[in-house]
């Protein structure tokens, strides 16, 4: 199985090159290649997931250079789950985009495959500098995707997005440099050991480096006060791209979880749980700010973008608690919020494309085609995002509340999560009633050109909602798996021994 770990990175990379070199003039062939590659990716990542659920962490040494000198990829339960999530989301997005969006600019499919490569790489890598490289790969692809189809608003938002992320990349390098200068390693497993050996005079440097790195991950995860790029970017990105970006914020959350539970976790002595005092308060503010934005939004897409910020707040509250129960609850909510955000962006595009010149502004307008059917889809998506029963958001939030019961900040967490859930319901309820109910009483009908029943986009949107239903129905087995994930995260010795060999732990604290 070991060699298969590299496939989720190599397959999209080869496909992207093939698409841009061989079939760039034929949109049908591009679609066939892209969808086939994504289907194959789903199959590969599913088998990796099944493998990881029955085994300990597995390492793949790139170029067969031994760790910690070479770069390693590590497949454990968490990374297997994340690459599977990415490929499922990617499948929905590529089906949606293949009906019409991919023709509004050039090279959509190639950029999309590069994006998948970067995201999968970031999830699989076991090396901090390699993480930076995969961040760049996914960012470069995302710049192209974000600007797909262009237009003044999108260029403006894209410019800000690029500048913020370039600054973030510079900070990432500074943080990595500081960590390397005192530990002499970039391998995450080796870092976990070297952190315990750092001289006390260098501890401040290490701490500063680790916190700069935390800031960079928080930019990715759109945590307050570095969330400013998200609303503009998501609201102005092409709909399928916005849906795909639902996984990008999760990359940031994943990195917080990975680095600060492995290298700065239980074993790190003075540095133990370095991130915990910062993540939780920031996450609480993020949740309040996101859901306030939902109430204040004047456009459908920015409403959804702010709800994404809110859901990142909820997710990072769970991660910021850094207990096994909270993390398995948070991971369940992460699966849920990825699919629900993607579903909402896709449904919003179906709505917007039928409203003609009214676009995505939250005003009453005459009826449009299939408003009843789309209202039903939007209703389901909104229930998911707000975390109401019967969909999986409710289970996720309930688990997070339950896990927060023993926390010192329990009063804050409970009250903020519950109040913001109400704000989210009000915001989405208002948007839905303006878009669908009030508009039903206006005379006339908007007619726009184009397919009456675009088959692929509707399949993709329903597929995303179907994923929420599946998460709800199979909540039991999924929670069992997630408990395994967080148990493995907290038992870091498994990860370290898988990368560095059996005797690695004897070097601890020397």
């Amino acid at each position: 199985m070991g060699d298969w770990i590299v496939v989720p990175i190599v397959l999209p990379a080869v496909m992207a090159a093939l698409i841009v070199l061989a079939v760039r003039h034929d949109i049908i062939l591009q679609r066939v290649f892209s969808i086939t590659a994504t289907l194959a990716l789903v199959a590969v990542t599913l088998s990796l997931l099944i493998f990881a659920s029955g085994n300990g962490p597995e390492m793949y040494a790139l170029g067969d250079w031994p760790a910690p000198f070479g770069i390693v990829l590590v497949l454990d339960r968490l990374s297997a789950m994340m690459v599977f999530l990415t490929s499922l989301l990617g499948l929905g997005v590529i089906l949606f985009a293949s009906s019409e969006w991919d023709q509004r600019g050039k090279h959509f499919h190639a950029l999309f495959q590069f994006q998948l490569m970067g995201v999968n790489g970031a999830f699989l890598t076991g090396d901090v500098f390699n993480l930076f490289v995969f961040f760049e790969v996914l960012l470069i692809a995302s710049y192209g995707l974000m600007l797909h189809g262009a237009g003044a608003e999108r260029l403006k938002a894209g410019m800000q997005y690029v500048v913020i992320n370039l600054t973030g990349s510079s900070l990432f390098l500074i943080g990595v440099g500081m960590i390397y200068s005192v530990t002499g390693t970039l391998n995450m497993a080796d870092l976990a050991i070297q952190v315990t050996n750092v001289a006390s005079g260098d501890a401040a440097l290490l701490r500063a480096g680790a916190l700069i790195l935390l800031l960079v991950f928080c930019v990715k995860a759109a945590l307050v006060p570095v969330h400013f790029w998200l609303p503009g970017t998501y609201a102005n990105a092409p709909a399928p791209v916005a849906a795909l970006f639902a996984i990008m914020t999760k990359v940031g959350a994943y990195c917080v979880l990975r680095v600060y539970s492995l290298a700065f976790g239980d074993m790190a002595g003075d540095m133990a749980w370095l991130a915990a005092p910062y993540v939780l308060p920031a996450a609480l503010v993020t949740l309040v700010l996101g859901m306030t934005g939902v109430l204040a939004a004047k456009r459908l897409n920015s409403l959804i973008a702010f709800s994404v910020i809110g859901s990142m707040g909820t997710l990072l509250i769970a991660i910021g608690l850094f207990t096994p129960e909270a993390i398995s609850a948070g991971l369940y909510y992460m699966l849920h919020s990825t699919f629900s955000a993607a579903a909402l962006f896709l449904i919003a595009d179906l709505v917007v494309s039928r409203r003609g010149q009214f676009g995505d502004s939250l005003n009453t307008a005459p009826r449009f085609h299939q408003s009843g059917f789309l209202a039903a889809l939007f209703f389901a998506g909104a229930i998911g995002m707000a975390g109401m029963p019967p969909l999986s958001g409710f289970i996720g939030k309930l688990q997070i509340l339950d896990a927060a019961r023993d926390s010192d900040a329990m009063v804050w967490i409970w009250s903020i999560i519950l109040v913001t859930s109400l704000m989210c319901i009000v915001g989405f309820g208002r948007a839905g009633s303006v878009l669908f109910w009030k508009s039903a009483s206006v005379d006339g009908e908007i007619t726009v050109d184009g397919a009456k029943w675009p088959v692929l986009p509707i399949i993709a949107s329903c597929g995303m909602l179907g994923a929420l239903v599946a998460l709800t129905i199979f909540a039991g087995p999924i929670t069992d798996y997630l408990n395994g994930v967080s148990a493995q995260l907290f038992d870091t010795s498994q990860y370290i021994e898988a990368v560095l060999g059996e005797n690695a732990l004897s070097l601890l604290g020397q």
Partner: protein, 118 residues
């Protein structure tokens, strides 16, 4: 030498940060470039500053300079070079399409439209 390297990194970072916070795209691009230079030099320094030493470990060599930061700097330079090219093209495109070169797409003093911000 430590003082020289440290103060030049500091100067580059200061200028880069100042320019990054300007409102027009051209200073921002230059600021990003300066910031990436500062980071590159900083990365060099993370393997400690040594002069006239081989970047390799072999028999008979006890003093050497750390080769890893040099490899990392090479990667960082390639990436930041590509990124600078991208953002130059992007800001020209934004200037042509929006009609001005402000990062938030509107000239100083112009009233914000109600529907513009979310």
């Amino acid at each position: 030498m430590e003082f020289l390297v440290a103060s030049s990194i500091g100067l580059l970072t200061t200028c880069g940060t100042y320019l990054l916070l300007r409102g027009r795209t051209f200073p921002v691009v230059v600021g990003l470039a300066l910031l990436s230079y500062a980071v590159n030099v900083f990365l060099f320094a993370m393997g400690r500053l040594t002069i006239n030493m081989p970047p390799i470990l072999r028999e008979g060599v006890t003093e050497y300079t750390d080769p890893l930061p040099q490899a990392l700097v090479l990667t960082a330079i390639v990436i930041s070079f590509g990124m600078t090219a991208l953002i130059v093209v992007l800001s020209i495109r934004a200037f042509l399409e929006i009609g001005n070169d402000h990062v938030d797409g509107r000239p100083v003093g112009a009233p914000s439209e109600a529907g513009d911000k979310n």
